[in-house]
């Protein structure tokens, strides 16, 4: 069991590296969600099911969702600003 745990920790480190190396920010959010899921699995393997559930709901769902929502809003706002500028040029 201890070696499964050790292997899982290495997998988590590798996926954290993968998040940093992802270029597109939307893909990064999806990678972050997967990373959150892995952390949830880790808490479960290390015998903390309560924390695992919190981690899955927050780390794999709520946090990526919030980042995604903020990105959507920013994109919307930026596009709006651009549209207004073009209008004033006409």
């Amino acid at each position: 069991m201890r070696f499964w745990g050790a292997g899982l920790l290495i997998l988590i480190a590798a996926s954290a590296f993968a998040i940093v190396r992802t270029d597109d920010v939307r893909n990064q959010v999806l990678a972050l969600s997967f990373y959150g899921l892995l952390l949830g699995l880790m808490f479960f393997i290390f015998q903390a099911p309560d924390v695992a559930l919190s981690q899955i709901t927050v780390g794999a769902m709520a946090l990526p969702l919030m980042v995604m929502l903020a990105l959507t809003r920013m994109k919307h706002r930026a596009a709006l600003g651009k549209g207004e500028k073009e209008k004033s040029h006409e």
Partner: protein, 256 residues
């Protein structure tokens, strides 16, 4: 620095890390052993003292309930802060925003497959039910109000994924969410004050404890967990709406 030297540096670091990591793993205490005294003491006492089988929730909502009260209000004020930051702008600017051409091209993406549409819609009811189950069984099994509330609040997002925007907006913009958020947050504090009214210390578990393993057991633990769930679900839904408010009102205008 040349490629080769960088690789050498990396290899030296990796070998060192591997050596330390392996030594650490091999010298760990046996799997599942616990060396502190408090965990074992509380695990032995909790079923007799509180009639709750999930020790973690008995601790969070009872033994250290005062800390959790603070955490709940951290969440409450954080959500209030975000709502304030994302508040709608002046009417004039809002009008401009809604009347202008649609800048974000929502139309030119690929059509949603029927499989996704049917499956996500079917999952909606299941998610709500699962969230309620997790939220109400916190005193018996892992889970509790916080996790359950988040699952319930995430269920409407499935409708958004299925492009059922109308139903999605109707759910998350419902005015009762604000009300329930306040009710959930204040009910926790009021339960604590209720104990004071009976002449007991703040947040004492003063309700009848019931039968161990029963859903209505463990006194205030289950009740507080439900309040937290209510608050978290309403707060998260409100937060989602604040983010999407402008985008939703825009796409609604387009449909008209």
């Amino acid at each position: 620095m040349s490629e080769k030297r960088r690789l050498l540096l990396f290899l030296a670091g990796a070998v060192g890390l591997a050596a330390i990591y392996t030594a650490g793993i091999l010298n760990m205490p046996a799997w599942g052993t616990y060396r502190g005294p408090y965990g074992d003491v509380i695990a032995g006492l909790v079923v007799f003292q509180r009639h709750a089988t999930d020790v973690v929730n008995a601790i969070t909502y009872d033994y250290r309930g005062f800390d959790t009260l603070g955490e709940e209000f951290i969440l409450f004020s954080a959500v209030t802060g975000v709502t304030l930051l994302l508040r709608p702008e002046s009417e004039e600017k809002k009008k401009k925003f809604e009347e202008g051409e649609n800048p974000a091209s929502f139309q030119d993406r690929a059509a949603l497959s029927e499989t996704v549409q049917v499956f996500t819609t079917a999952m909606f009811g299941f998610s709500v039910l699962f969230g309620i189950y997790i939220g109400t069984h916190g005193q018996l099994t892992p889970g509790g109000g916080f996790q359950g509330g988040l699952i319930v609040a995430a269920a409407p997002m499935l409708l958004y994924v299925a492009e059922n925007t109308e139903a999605f907006e109707r759910i998350i913009s419902h005015p009762i969410a604000d009300f329930l958020e306040s009710v959930g947050a204040s009910a926790y504090a009021l339960i604590g004050v209720g104990a004071l009214a009976l002449g007991l210390p703040f947040l004492t578990n003063m309700l009848p404890l019931g039968t161990t393993g029963d859903i209505f057991s463990s006194g205030t633990i289950a009740l507080i967990s439900a309040c937290v769930g209510l608050e978290v679900a309403a707060a998260f839904m409100g937060l989602t709406y604040e983010y999407l408010r402008e985008i939703l009102s825009r796409s609604r205008n387009e449909e008209d």
